[in-house]
Each structure stands twice: as structure tokens, then as C-alpha cells.
């Protein structure tokens, strides 16, 4: 009988309570409430619902595959080579991820890309390419180059090495990125609504329509359950896959990337420049349209209706800082639980943490209303917004820290224990410093997610705080040439800030910890 380790209990309890109280409990409350009023049979809507379910699945699968393929050249270039502007390019790829859907939607519509599945798919690639580049790139840049060289020496061509050695080793990261992209596109809302031209609806759109427009909470709850089952099945399959394929191999130091030479130089240039140009088309439209009139100057003036638009930057930063601190704290603790325990517990814990990514915003928002009134009324509190952002950001922290924690050999921790470190101390002295770098990558995602988040919080009752996306939507929803230009100007500033913050965090994580 081992003594209870209180430190370990605490490390497990914090993420469990957080996700339990702020996600599972509201979710269960709202779903049981909705389902309790459900009448058997939906009189004739089954065909439509089946159609929606099918569309939701296939567009998500296709979007995920296309995103991974589209991200491949850029991922290869930035993870395998050192060149001028590499970090800038990595940061720029992250910008689309944080842009508010309404703004990108407007740019796409202006380009004439709308009312088609094609437009939806292109938008999904645009938004999610950063997830693949960053997640897969992080692993790829640290694969031991000896493995590649060994393959070449054994007579394999570049392509054969890629297919038989590199690709299999990258699978865990590709699966992780794919899972996230799949969840995002499976629950896609704004993109489908704006670019789909109504012929297409995802479950998420239909849940919104049933709950908010048609007040059919029971049907909405039933759909939310269907969506949840789909998401859980995906995550379960993913985690089983991860379990079978995760191995600890020697990861090398990240510092020594070669400069590209010869043909590689051309390919790297083409990959990076091609990707950035493609991604910048909607952004260029945005910038061009934001340059009309006094857009930027107007942001600094006190507007009688919406206040000083530029002040929304402060609000956004405040939420983003709180959300990323929460996400990193909870996420890193969760990761150490996931890597520290084995089998079923670990798998379900991991899976539950990912669920918020795939749960409809309407469901969570209404769940908060039903569940969080007591004992402390958090329903319309300031804290609910960063908490909601953190729920979405935690999976990113977990996904980026779990592989690193798994890559720490058992012996390293045992060595610390033998040298007199208590279990809590081992965590602090070994796991924590090693995981910091990976946690910062997660924090970068958490920060930009919070900065650009609009969808989830628009269904939460909240204090009247104007964040940047909220301000953009406000300006966009009133007539007047200045309103329009100011909205786009603010979106451009949001994009610029994102790039700068990501660049800064990339530098930080590079400088802070040496090589290992």
C-alpha cells in the first residue's frame, strides 16, 4: 500500500475539476434538460438531418485531408531548413487562424468565393493550415537526422526515405493536427453560414437554427448529442491510434538546421513564398479595403456609439493573458496526469479535455446559463469569458506538451528520485522545465485563440466588454463608409498583433531553454 501523494492528487484534481465544472456539468445539465422534453419521432425531419449529418462528416474529412496536404510544403521548409525570415514565415502562417470569421468571410465574398462547397473548403484550409505547420513542424524539426541519413545510406531515395522513415515517424503529430482540424471543421459555423449559401448546413449550424431561431431546444439537444457522439468517436479512434504509435525516440537539438542549397533552396523558396502568397490573398483584400478614408485615425477617436475602438485592444489582451495562463496551468497539469497514468484513465482524461473543441458553442453557452447560477453566480461574470477561451485552448497546450512529457525517459525521473527528489520535486525539477518550451507553444495558441475568439462567447451572457472581434462585428453591423473601413482596419491590426505576438513567443521559447 503506497502512501497517498497529495501533490499528485492536486495535480490531477485541478484539471479534473476545471473541465468537470466548466464543461461536463453544464453540458450534461443542458442536454438532460433538452432531452427530457424530447418527443419521440421528428415527423419528417429525419431525411434532412441525415443529409446534414452526412455533409458535416464529409466536408470535415475532406477539409482535414486538404489542409494537411496544403500545409506539407511549408511544414517541410520551416522545420528542415534555416533561412532568413523563417520565423517570420512561421508567425505569418498563424495569422489566418486568429482572424474573425466575419472578416475573412467578407474578404472571401468580395473575391467572389461563395455559395459553394469549394469556398467552404478553401476557407477551412485558410483558417487551419497553421495547426498543421506548427504541430507537425515541431516534431519534424526534432527528428534525429541520422535516421534520414541511415535510410539514404541503405539505398533509399529522398522520396523513399520520406515515405518509409520520416512519414511514419511524423504520424503522431500528423494525427494530432488532423484531429484538431477535423474537430474545428466538423463543428464549423460561421464559415458554413457565410460561404455555404444555405444549401449546406453542418450540425453546428442546425443546432443554432433549432435552438436559437426555432426554439426547438429538444431537437437541438438531440443534435448536440449526435454531434458529441461523432466527436467522441473521432477522438477515441485518435487516442487509440496515438497509443499504438507513440514511441520515445531520440529527439535532437533543434538548433542545427542546415541552410538549403541547390534544388532544396529553390523548393524551400517556392514552398514558403507560394504558401504565404496564397494565404495573403484574402488579407490583401482586407488591407486594401481598410485603407479608405480615415479608417485607422478613426479607431483612435471617441465614437459616440461604440466608444474608442482602439480601447478594445486592451480588453482583448487582458482576456488573452488570463485565458492563456489558465490554459497553460490546467493543460500542463492535465498532460502530466495523462502521461503519468496509463490505459483507460489516461485515454479518457485526454479525450474529455479535447471535447470542448468539438462541442457546439450554443450548447456550452446555454449550459453555462443552466448550470453556473449556484453556488456562486458565475453566469454573467467577467471570468466566464477567459474560462470559455481556456476550454478551447487547453487541448492545444495538452497536444503540444504530452509528446514532450512522453519523450522524457523514465530513467531521467528515476535518477532525480534516487538523488532525493520527492515526487512533487521531480515534477518541478524535471518535467516542468523540460515541458516549458512545449507549453509556450501551447500558450501561443491559447493566446491567439483568445484574441480572435468570437463564436463561443457570443452565446454567453457577459459583461459589456468590447474585445477586438466584438468591436469589429459592432462596426460591421452599422451602415456608413467609416464604420466599414474602421472594422477592417481593426481586423488588420488584430492580424498584425497576432503575427507579432507569435513571433515574440517563438523567440522566447528559443532563447529560454537550451538544446536537448
Amino acid at each position: 500500500m503506497r502512501p497517498i501523494r497529495w501533490g499528485q492528487v492536486l495535480v490531477a484534481a485541478v484539471p479534473a475539476l476545471f473541465i468537470g465544472y466548466f464543461f461536463l456539468y453544464p453540458l450534461i445539465r443542458i442536454l438532460t434538460l433538452g432531452l427530457s422534453e424530447l418527443n419521440v419521432g421528428f415527423d419528417g425531419v429525419e431525411a434532412r438531418l441525415f443529409h446534414i449529418g452526412w455533409f458535416t462528416v464529409w466536408q470535415a474529412v475532406l477539409s482535414t485531408v486538404l489542409t494537411v496536404v496544403a500545409a506539407a510544403p511549408m511544414t517541410w521548409a520551416v522545420s528542415q531548413f534555416e533561412f532568413r525570415g523563417r520565423k517570420l514565415a512561421t508567425a505569418l502562417v498563424t495569422v489566418p487562424f486568429v482572424l474573425p470569421t466575419v472578416v475573412v468571410g467578407a474578404a472571401f465574398v468580395a473575391l467572389g468565393w461563395r455559395n459553394s462547397v469549394g469556398a467552404i473548403l478553401v476557407a477551412h484550409i485558410f483558417f487551419n493550415i497553421a495547426v498543421v505547420v506548427r504541430t507537425v513542424g515541431a516534431l519534424w524539426s526534432r527528428l534525429d537526422p541520422d535516421l534520414h541519413d541511415a535510410g539514404r545510406v541503405l539505398g533509399a531515395s529522398e522520396w523513399q526515405v520520406f515515405r518509409t522513415i520520416t512519414l511514419p515517424l511524423l504520424r503522431p503529430a500528423i494525427a494530432a493536427a488532423s484531429a484538431i482540424v477535423f474537430l474545428f471543421t466538423f463543428t464549423s459555423f460561421g464559415v458554413v453560414l457565410i460561404l455555404g449559401g444555405f444549401r449546406y448546413a453542418t450540425l453546428e449550424v442546425e443546432i443554432y437554427r433549432q435552438a436559437v431561431t426555432l426554439f426547438d431546444l429538444p431537437l437541438a439537444a438531440a443534435l448536440a448529442v449526435v454531434q458529441l457522439v461523432g466527436v467522441t468517436a473521432t477522438l477515441y479512434a485518435y487516442s487509440r491510434y496515438q497509443e499504438r504509435h507513440t514511441s520515445t525516440w531520440a529527439l535532437r537539438a533543434e538548433a542545427d538546421r542546415p541552410n538549403p542549397r541547390g534544388r532544396a533552396r529553390f523548393l524551400v523558396g517556392a514552398s514558403v513564398i507560394g504558401t504565404l502568397i496564397a494565404l495573403s490573398i484574402p488579407v490583401v483584400v482586407l488591407v486594401a479595403r481598410s485603407l479608405r478614408g480615415v479608417a485607422y485615425a478613426g479607431l483612435f477617436r471617441d465614437d459616440p456609439v461604440v466608444g474608442t475602438p482602439i480601447a478594445s485592444i486592451g480588453n482583448s489582451l487582458r482576456f488573452a493573458v488570463i485565458a492563456s495562463v489558465l490554459a497553460v496551468l490546467v493543460g500542463v497539469m492535465a498532460s502530466s496526469v495523462i502521461t503519468g497514468s496509463r490505459g483507460t484513465i489516461s485515454r479518457w482524461f485526454d479525450l474529455t479535455l479535447m471535447l470542448p473543441l468539438g462541442t457546439s458553442a450554443v450548447t456550452i453557452g446555454f449550459g453555462f446559463i443552466v448550470a453556473l447560477g449556484e453556488p456562486v453566480d458565475l453566469r454573467a461574470s467577467f471570468w466566464l469569458i477567459p474560462i470559455a477561451h481556456a476550454l478551447v485552448a487547453i487541448p492545444f497546450v495538452v497536444r503540444s506538451t504530452v509528446p514532450t512529457l512522453r519523450s522524457i525517459p523514465t530513467e531521467t525521473r528515476e535518477a532525480a528520485r534516487v538523488l532525493g527528489a520527492s515526487p512533487g520535486r521531480v515534477w518541478r525539477e524535471i518535467d516542468l522545465p523540460i515541458v516549458t518550451r512545449a507549453a509556450l507553444v501551447g500558450a501561443a495558441f491559447a493566446f491567439v485563440i483568445s484574441l480572435g475568439e468570437f463564436g463561443a462567447t457570443s452565446f454567453i451572457a457577459r459583461p459589456n466588454t468590447a474585445t477586438m472581434p466584438v468591436m469589429i462585428v459592432r462596426l460591421l453591423s452599422r451602415p456608413g463608409s467609416a464604420s466599414f473601413a474602421m472594422a477592417l482596419a481593426l481586423a488588420v491590426i488584430l492580424a498584425g498583433m497576432t503575427a507579432m505576438i507569435v513571433l515574440w513567443i517563438d523567440r522566447l521559447q528559443f532563447g529560454e531553454i537550451g538544446t536537448f
Binding site: 528515476e414 535518477a415 534516487v418 538523488l419 532525493g420 525539477e429 522545465p433
Partner: protein
């Protein structure tokens, strides 16, 4: 004095150690010699408290260690792959145990410097682990194990991964360090020469059991069975 009294260790379904009886007197160095997979490393891990024992007991100076967690046992263990901390420099690694014992930072620095002199790595304090050669890593691992002055140190294949010339030199160095310091030590190895060079007494291990123990000349003179004779060549 370490007293291992008929312990069994099971890993998963497999009984890895069977009825192991072993003592190490204070100031003595004992080598456990056996082929790969015979359970030698598991024995060290059981003594360190890293794997639970199924039956039997492990005592130090008469005190049962069953309820003493690893970090309070006061033993040192040098891992086969060294298990150096990748995020710390040489100073951070060698001083780790001293910091765990809450020594003031100045004392840690001094003791680390002294230990590095002992292992022949004078001035390596701020080197990064990634920049060390194989031999240097071995010395850092040894220094890290010795620095907190554990009541007993355990070495798992201490010279296993090194090339021949280096091994021979380090074998002498390690022996000197152990005997000069009057260190109590338990060494496991698959190499007869290494066992002979480092230890006062040898226990031969095969498939989870100790088949014979004593000084090497005694064992050679009276091998317990054919396997012992073949193994020692």
C-alpha cells in the same frame, strides 16, 4: 550494511527476481555479475525502491526499507544510460542531489567543484550535457551519484557503453574513487573483468536467481555448476 533477504520481484506477469539473498557490508564493493536479461538492473531498482518487491525484505543497518520511498533511502544509483538531465548543465546535474538536500547554493557549488576534480572533470561546471563525449558523460554521471555522499552507491553497467581503451582507464579511476572514499557500492555488470576490477566480492546471477557468490578466485576454484564454469570461461 545492506541486507537483501529472499526477495521476489514480479514485473507484469513475469517473475524477474526469485529469492534473492545478498549482503553488502559497509565500505565493501560487491559486484553482481550475469548475462544480459538476468535481472541485474531490476535488483538495483528494487533496492532503490523504484520497483516494488513482492516478498522478502530489504534492510539497511537493520531498518526495514519497505515504507521508505526512493527519495528518502539515501542510496545513489548510476543508470546504465546515465540518465543525465538534458535541460541542466554539468553543474545542475552534479549539484542536483545536494540541492534536494537543501544545501546552501555556495556549498553546492563548492561540493560540485570538488567532486568534478575527483572524477577528473575540473572546470566542466557550465558545460552543456549535449556537448559532452561518452567518457565525459560517464564521469558526470558518476560525479552526480557521488556528490550527495549517499550511504551506498549502485552502478548499473558503469562502463558498458565505452570503448575499450577508455574503459580500462575509467575502470582504474572508478576503483580508485570508490576505495579512496571508502564508499559502499553495489555494481552490476555483464563483464567479468569489470566485476573483478571494481569489486571485493562477486555474486553470480542467472535468470533471476543468484547461483553463487564469493571472491572470484574462490568461485573459479569451486564453480557451483557447469553454467558458472562456462560463463566465467
Amino acid at each position: 550494511m545492506l541486507d537483501v533477504k529472499s526477495i521476489d520481484v514480479r514485473l507484469g506477469e513475469k517473475l524477474v527476481l526469485r529469492d534473492i539473498i545478498l549482503t553488502v557490508e559497509t565500505g565493501e564493493t560487491v559486484a553482481v555479475l550475469g548475462p544480459s536479461g538476468s535481472g541485474k538492473s531490476t535488483l538495483l531498482r528494487a533496492v532503490a525502491g523504484l520497483v516494488p518487491i513482492e516478498s522478502g525484505s530489504i534492510t539497511w543497518d537493520g531498518q526495514d526499507l519497505a515504507t521508505v520511498p526512493t527519495h528518502l533511502r539515501g542510496f545513489g544509483l548510476m543508470f546504465q544510460g546515465y540518465a543525465l538531465f538534458p535541460h541542466l548543465d554539468v553543474m545542475g546535474n552534479v549539484g542536483f542531489g545536494l540541492r534536494m538536500a537543501n544545501l546552501p547554493e555556495d556549498d553546492v557549488r563548492r561540493r560540485v567543484a570538488a567532486t568534478l576534480v575527483l572524477v577528473g572533470l575540473d572546470g566542466f561546471d557550465n558545460r552543456s550535457i549535449a556537448d559532452l563525449s561518452g567518457g565525459e558523460k560517464q564521469r558526470v554521471a558518476l560525479a552526480r551519484t557521488l556528490a550527495p555522499e549517499p550511504r551506498m552507491i549502485m552502478l548499473d553497467e558503469p562502463l558498458g557503453a565505452l570503448d575499450r581503451a577508455l574503459r580500462e582507464r575509467l575502470m582504474v579511476d572508478t576503483r580508485r574513487i570508490l576505495s579512496d572514499g571508502g564508499v559502499t557500492a553495489l555494481v552490476v555488470t555483464h563483464d567479468r573483468e569489470e566485476a573483478e576490477a571494481l569489486s571485493d566480492r562477486i555474486a553470480l546471477m542467472r535468470e533471476g536467481s543468484i547461483v553463487q557468490s564469493g571472491t572470484l578466485p574462490d568461485i573459479l576454484a569451486h564453480p557451483a555448476d557447469d553454467w558458472v564454469r562456462d560463463f566465467l570461461g
